[in-house]
Each structure stands twice: as structure tokens, then as C-alpha cells.
């Protein structure tokens, strides 16, 4: 089983997390919403798999490159 990290492309604040541990996602599914510069940006799953780790919570300030979730595939 390989792992793919989902990281933030830009800094911002997590608005909401759209998945839970164990959620099966397809490529392009929304993992979370990240607010930056007054825009609510959907962060999408780069590939299909199972969410095995979530390391961000609503309200959390995120740096660019920071880990948000891990998908196992």
C-alpha cells in the first residue's frame, strides 16, 4: 500500500474538513476547504484511495506545504 500526502498549495485557514478517517475518495474529490485571501479554495484529492490520516482541523492556520491529510492507495 502506498501513501500520498495531501498538502496545502498556499497558506490559509481551514474552513472545513470534508472527509473523515476511512473515507474512500476518488481523484478530484474535495478533502477540505482552505480560505486564503477571502477566497474559499477546495483542496482536491490528487488520486483515489482511503483517507488514513487527517492532520488539520477547522480554524487552524496552515502554512504552504503543510500536511493536511494522507491517502493510502
Amino acid at each position: 500500500m502506498a501513501q500520498e500526502e495531501v498538502t496545502a498549495p498556499i497558506p490559509g485557514v481551514i474552513v472545513s474538513i470534508e472527509v473523515t478517517l476511512g473515507t474512500k475518495v476518488a481523484e478530484g474529490d474535495t478533502i477540505c476547504f482552505l480560505e486564503s485571501m477571502k477566497m474559499s479554495n477546495p483542496i482536491l484529492a490528487p488520486l483515489g484511495g482511503t483517507v488514513t490520516k487527517i492532520s488539520a482541523a477547522p480554524g487552524q492556520v496552515i502554512k504552504a506545504g503543510q500536511l493536511i491529510a494522507v491517502i493510502e492507495y
Binding site: P9, I10, E35, S36, M37, K38, M39, S40, N41, P42
Partner: protein, 532 residues
């Protein structure tokens, strides 16, 4: 007495042998790698029956090494001219089945000839790179052969490294890197205007993995430091990432249809049946009332252009900005558009590079530009400001390219645009010809919230509830002084607030109006310098 028919048969037999390239086994190997042979690629690029090969019969230089005994058909490159969708094109295509496409003196000569002819004839050229590298034997012959090799070096115009620069801005240059391309081999094709790569078989890097390991003691694979996906997504060195050779070549044929043959020409008009004044009702639903919900600007583009057809460039790089070619009313236009779906459409140093190079290409080749703007501005970043990726330096390039251009330029404010972002995407005072805004647009010289924080700094600091005070002042500012979308019209930042459904018609009429205007004069200079 030589029988002409016999002689002809002999020539044709030799020709067929040369057409086999490196032979059946090598052809099989090429196919196993998932690659087409040079002649198969050629057949796909050119309209059937139009290709005329030149210099098939070249004799590779004698080096004194064993390689002299091998049959190196056409010196590992096919060169010639033909037609693509009826238009003349020159091409050079490496033949990997012959000594892994080694770049020999003869090959350089043939390639240089193609580039020089393209320049002289005002015709675009296409290069298909598939080569293991320089043919080292040709660099220095064995002792008795050195005078021959040295002579050849000085006699041949072996300069595929000089030509792309001479051709730049005069004729379109397209490189298909559909094989290995290392070090010196890469300098020439990368200087082309457009680069196409293919997943799995394209490799381009300065150092090979072996060299990297020798110098830095780091282990890398060729995919890691030079693979097609790396270049498409990270380095921005490629315009299109193909899955197969066939796709790369098909895309190239389409690209050519949007371009003029040279810088004194306009791109061919392709009459679609799409009414240039067609209104589009659905466009109103794309930009939702809530300004923070991101939509995909591709949707807007497809509704404005002829038949919804858009040839995107660098689609996987700096995706927050979209560039590409389309037609409006049959004529090619260059589109530059921010994409709110990616990073909110915020600008950064990569988008600046992406757009400035494209703007300059369009200007060089008489292609009018259309800017679709909805951006929260530049993405502030400590890393970008404190590194060689300097934000201001890059933003200046974007503005510079727009100001330098003399082709018709039209800007449509679809959504937000404040402050420096306006400079990066073009204003009337910078020379843009016409600027329009949608009713949902918010255009100002500074973000109203920032303005409030500066003007009412003291009041906000002294207030019991700073946040509420800030919001109160903002509300006042927006009601009294900065009403969107009218603010931009009141201060002559835009010329009209248009019905989004008529965007296509507005652009068409504006460009039509400008289509035959005389060249804009600039003070004499040898060339503009590149901003940092």
C-alpha cells in the same frame, strides 16, 4: 552505356534501404519503448504526399574509429519540407534507430540547414528530438583523421545552437521532445517557442543521472530530474504533456493552425459557423453572487470563443493562470485568464513568467490578446519575497510585456482586481486598448479593506472592538465612495460596464475595430532589455 532504368532501380533500392533507418531490430526496439520511428512520426505530422526530404544521402564524416564501418542512414536525422493542413512547414526528426540518434557533425549540418531555410523562407519549423547525445567520435578523430574532422568542423555551418536565436520572433519554432534530450542537445530545442513532451519517454536535463552522481554523490533517476511530468508541472518547460507520440504530433498540427507563418503575417482565418455576435445566457450562472466561491475560468473561456475550442498551453504549470489560443470570429486570439478555481486565482512568480512569455510571443506574431481577470491579487509569501523567486521582480515582467506589446489588447474584468494585480494584467494607462467590466466586478486601485486600515488606523486602534470598527468604516467607504462596479467607470479605469452575455460580441467588435490599425510607433532602440 548506363541504362537509365537500371540506374533508377539502383537508386530506388538504395533509397528504400536508407528508409529502413537502423534496421528491423532497432525499429522493433523503438516500438517496444512505446515510441514511433522517425518516418512514422513524419507521416503523422505532414499532410499525406506532401513531404519532400532533403539530404537523405549525406555521408557521415570519417573519424577513423570503428563507427565508420557502420551504415548510419541519413546521419540519424530526417530533414525536409512539407505541408501541415496545407501550410508549408520545415522539419527535422531525429532517428533513434541509427546510433541512438547521435548528434553528429552531419546531423548538425542538416538541422542547421532546416533552421536557416525556415528563417529565409518565412516558414515555421518543427523539431522532433530523440537522441542519446552528441556523437563523440566526431569531436576528435583518431590521429590520422584529425585534420579531416577539424576541417569539417570549420567548414560545416554546424550551428543549431545559433539558429533558434536568429529565428526567434521571426518564425514560430516548435520542439517535440519525444525522446532523450540531455545537456548540449537540449540548448537548441528548448529555445523554441513551444515545447511538447511525452510521458515516460521524454527526458530533458542538463546533467545525466550518472554525471549528477559523480559530482554531487546524489542518486536520482532520469524521470526524477528530467521526466515529462516534472517539466509539465514543476519547471514549466513544456507546453503540452502527451500520452503517446501520436497525441504529441496531433496537438502540434492543431497548434500550427493558430499561428501565422512568420512575423509579417497574420494567422490564417478559419471561418467557423459560430456567429461572432452570439450572446450566451449561461455565462451569468458561472460567476455566483457570493464572490468567495471559486468557479473555473475555463467555463467562461469556452463560452466566449468560437465553438468553445481552446488550445491551452502549459496547462499543468501555474494553473492559477490560464494561457492559450482560440478564435473569435475566425481570427486567432491569445487568451490570458486568471483561474479562481486554483489558489483563488491569486498571482505568483510562476504566473508572471507564464504570462509574460506568452504576451511577448503574441506580440511578435501579430496575435491580439484578451485578458479575463478575476484575482484577489498577488499571493503574499515570505518564501517568495526572501528568495531568488522575488515577487516584485516577476510582477514587473508581466506588466512590462503588456506595456511593450503593440498588438490589440483587451481586458475584461470578470470579478475582483485591486492594486498591483491590475498592473500585472494590464490597464489603459499602460497601453491596453480597451477595458470592460462585468456588473459583478470589483475593481479599485486598492483593496477597500486595506484602504480602511490605513485611513482609519487610529480610529480602529482606539476602538473598543477593533474588528467591528473596521467593518463599520468599510461599510461606510463602500456605500459612499466605492460602489462596485461603478467605481471603475467613475474613475475611468474601465470604458464600459457590459452585459456578460455579450462578452464575445464586445470582444469581437473591439478587435475588429483595431484589426487594421497602423503599427504603433516606439522610440528607436535595438531591443528592450529584460527586466530582472
Amino acid at each position: 552505356m548506363t541504362d537509365p532504368r537500371e540506374k533508377l532501380q539502383e537508386v530506388e533500392a538504395r533509397r528504400q534501404k536508407l528508409y529502413e533507418g537502423g534496421g528491423v531490430k532497432e525499429v522493433e526496439r523503438q516500438h517496444k519503448l512505446g515510441k514511433l520511428t522517425a518516418r512514422e512520426r513524419l507521416a503523422r505530422l505532414f499532410d499525406p504526399g506532401t513531404f519532400q526530404e532533403v539530404n537523405l544521402w549525406i555521408r557521415p564524416i570519417t573519424t577513423g574509429y570503428d563507427v565508420d564501418d557502420r551504415d548510419l542512414a541519413a546521419d540519424a536525422v530526417i530533414t525536409g519540407m512539407g505541408r501541415v493542413n496545407g501550410r508549408p512547414i520545415y522539419a527535422y526528426i531525429h532517428d533513434f534507430t541509427v546510433l541512438a540518434g547521435a548528434m553528429s557533425l552531419g546531423q548538425n549540418h542538416k538541422v542547421t540547414q532546416v533552421m536557416e531555410k525556415a528563417l529565409r523562407d518565412g516558414v515555421p519549423y518543427v523539431g522532433m528530438i530523440d537522441s542519446g547525445g552528441i556523437k563523440i567520435h566526431d569531436l576528435f578523430g583518431r590521429p590520422a583523421y584529425r585534420p579531416i574532422v577539424a576541417d569539417a568542423c570549420m567548414g560545416f555551418t554546424s550551428n543549431p545552437w545559433n539558429c533558434p536565436c536568429q529565428c526567434s520572433g521571426v518564425v514560430p519554432q516548435i520542439s517535440l521532445m519525444i525522446g532523450p534530450c540531455y545537456a548540449g542537445s537540449a540548448y537548441s530545442p528548448i529555445a523554441a517557442d513551444f515545447v511538447v513532451m511525452r510521458k515516460g519517454t521524454s527526458f530533458m536535463s542538463l546533467a545525466s543521472p550518472q554525471l549528477l552522481k559523480t559530482v554531487t554523490f546524489v542518486d536520482v533517476t532520469q524521470e526524477e530530474i528530467g521526466g515529462a511530468e516534472l517539466h509539465a508541472k514543476v519547471t514549466g518547460s513544456t507546453d503540452f504533456l502527451a500520452n503517446k507520440d501520436e497525441d504529441a504530433i496531433e496537438w502540434t498540427r492543431e497548434l500550427i493552425s493558430y499561428l501565422p507563418s512568420n512575423n509579417r503575417d497574420k494567422a490564417p482565418r478559419i471561418d467557423t459557423k459560430d456567429d461572432p455576435e452570439r450572446a450566451d445566457d449561461g455565462i451569468l450562472d458561472i460567476v455566483t453572487a457570493q464572490s468567495s466561491a471559486p468557479y473555473d475560468m475555463h467555463d467562461v473561456i469556452s463560452r466566449i470563443v468560437d465553438d468553445g475550442r481552446f488550445l491551452e498551453l502549459q496547462a499543468l504549470f501555474a494553473r492559477n493562470l490560464i494561457i492559450g489560443f482560440a478564435r473569435i470570429g475566425g481570427d486567432t486570439v491569445g487568451i490570458v485568464a486568471t483561474n479562481p478555481a486554483v489558489n483563488g486565482g491569486a498571482l505568483d512568480y510562476n504566473t508572471c513568467d507564464k504570462q509574460s512569455r506568452f504576451v511577448r510571443f503574441c506580440d511578435a506574431f501579430n496575435i491580439p490578446l484578451v485578458f479575463l481577470v478575476d484575482t484577489p491579487g498577488f499571493l503574499p509569501s515570505k518564501e517568495a519575497e526572501t528568495s531568488r523567486e522575488g515577487l516584485i521582480r516577476h510582477a514587473a515582467r508581466a506588466a512590462f510585456a503588456i506595456a511593450e506589446a503593440t498588438v490589440p489588447r483587451v481586458v475584461i474584468y470578470v470579478g475582483k482586481c485591486f492594486g498591483t494585480a491590475r498592473l500585472a494584467l494590464g490597464t489603459l494607462r499602460m497601453g491596453v486598448d480597451d477595458v470592460y467590466a462585468w456588473p459583478t466586478s470589483q475593481v479599485a486601485r486598492i483593496d477597500p479593506l486595506e484602504a480602511v486600515r490605513i485611513i482609519y488606523k487610529r480610529e480602529i486602534a482606539e476602538a473598543a472592538d477593533s474588528s467591528a470598527e473596521e467593518q463599520k468604516r468599510l461599510k461606510e467607504l463602500l456605500e459612499k465612495y466605492v460602489r462596485f462596479p461603478y467605481h471603475a467607470g467613475e474613475y475611468l479605469m474601465v470604458e464600459d460596464i457590459i452585459d456578460p452575455r455579450r462578452t464575445r460580441s464586445v470582444i469581437y467588435k473591439t478587435l475588429n475595430h483595431l484589426s487594421n490599425r497602423p503599427a504603433i510607433g516606439r522610440p528607436w532602440k535595438k531591443s528592450s532589455l529584460m527586466p530582472r
